[in-house]
Subunit: 301 residues, 2 copies
Amino acid sequence: MKLNILGCYAATPRTLTNPTSQVLEIKNHLFLIDCGEGTQVQLRKYKIKFSRINHIFISHLHGDHFFGLPGLLSTFRLLGRDKEMHIYGPKGIKEAITLLLKLGDSWTNYPIRFHELTAKEPEIIYEDEKVTVETIPLDHRIYTNGFLFSEKLGERKLNIEAVAKYKIDKCYFQNIKNGKDITLDNGTIVPNIKLTFDPPKAKCYAYCSDTGYYPEIIGQIKMIDALYHESTFLETEAHLSAKTKHATAKEAATIAKKAEVGILILGHYSTRYKSIALFKEEAQEIFQKVVLADDGMQIDI
Amino acid sequence: MKLNILGCYAATPRTLTNPTSQVLEIKNHLFLIDCGEGTQVQLRKYKIKFSRINHIFISHLHGDHFFGLPGLLSTFRLLGRDKEMHIYGPKGIKEAITLLLKLGDSWTNYPIRFHELTAKEPEIIYEDEKVTVETIPLDHRIYTNGFLFSEKLGERKLNIEAVAKYKIDKCYFQNIKNGKDITLDNGTIVPNIKLTFDPPKAKCYAYCSDTGYYPEIIGQIKMIDALYHESTFLETEAHLSAKTKHATAKEAATIAKKAEVGILILGHYSTRYKSIALFKEEAQEIFQKVVLADDGMQIDI
């Protein structure tokens, strides 16, 4: 799993900082998460293939998380896309996009399938053989979801030496990888555990932005590999943070600690601070494994 | 009059090229003309004061001319603006902006006054003591207006030596500048022409984008100082140009020649061409005084 940070600053696009957008590479998918103004330029800058994006997840309908979407969808049309595009986001997103395309008489030549979200409890919104995506209801000024991206446990790994030793025919390999025991010609049953290794660990990544300090999410993100949690402010601005339903670096770290996550990735920084290093300092008083997101960064999970 | 080109490329924002937006400095106003995605970043880059923009003119509702507007209006709010903002654009622009602000529960703390345009004939949409702005109906795939920005002829200039010679009291100066003759104490009438010089020439700038070749505009832009005319294509792509209701460099130059304008400014280039110099070459076969717009350029008119 690889996370590409296209933008991780709060509020407005600036000359050197971009509003929120990420691309998660997971099991051969490129999932676009949020789409602030300028996201399509960032996609070009970091040479991410437009044609490989088929699923876009929008956390909430504040401009810094979705004002790049109408332009991106228009560009897909200019690039000659014909594949279906799935957009997951709060109710209202379909009306907004449809109106903008209608006003420009710029209907796309590819189908857009909107999956509008209204639930206040977590729900699975995407699932295939290898991946699930689940909403993480957050606590922000307007209806907002984070997203939990989970790999499914893959097939067991064949122990080549073992199957050779027992002279097992190839036609049984798929059954073995699926966890089946094998009965040899002499009637001996070889348990699956002797023929396979455990599959690679399935990984989980949670994206939580924007949100105030909201311990209700801890159960859902317990022990995951990586948590992106917004930290718009430092504790010195805790009053602003509470008022605007954003989180401080300390609050993000507290969530990470209680959820016992692998790493905490901080982002959605207010541009009022001179250095984002301050966010790491504050968070590490609570939780050690902190990564500071920055525009253009790629993080291996 | 000064024209700041923020973006002058067609279709989509890219790493090094920006969609359409300009700022016209005219008689102490900063008029923003069109607002493609990323315009607010360009405004920051070229250090144009956000607070001095009170009038925004949108030619048409294709994304590359207005998808930067919702974000810009949101940023004005974050900057604490309280002054009224006037937005001139095709009918539908109010519904679009209002819906986007409503979905984000991000109402502005300053009033926005929408002036929605529907007329098919030129109309004056802004006027004060020093400036008028008139629509130039264009021929594009959707309802589109160019804009004609005209300075009004100012006061006549006082001839300091002449008023000293006739010993005319200061209290008459405003009357003289307004064109009045003066009667001296001895009954002699001094005609205004002896007391004043002509005022500085009033300048006119026309913005015409997007449009196909449309000679109907020539009467309205006759003899103006500067014409910005789109040239999305070269003649080698004339078939595409006709189909999409854009103009070639040659067509733009033909309009400029027939209208006998001072200078022709080309822009709205398709990014398919290796060098924008090709547009100048093609145009100059018809009309000599060609300026190639480019992002970040400032043009004195």
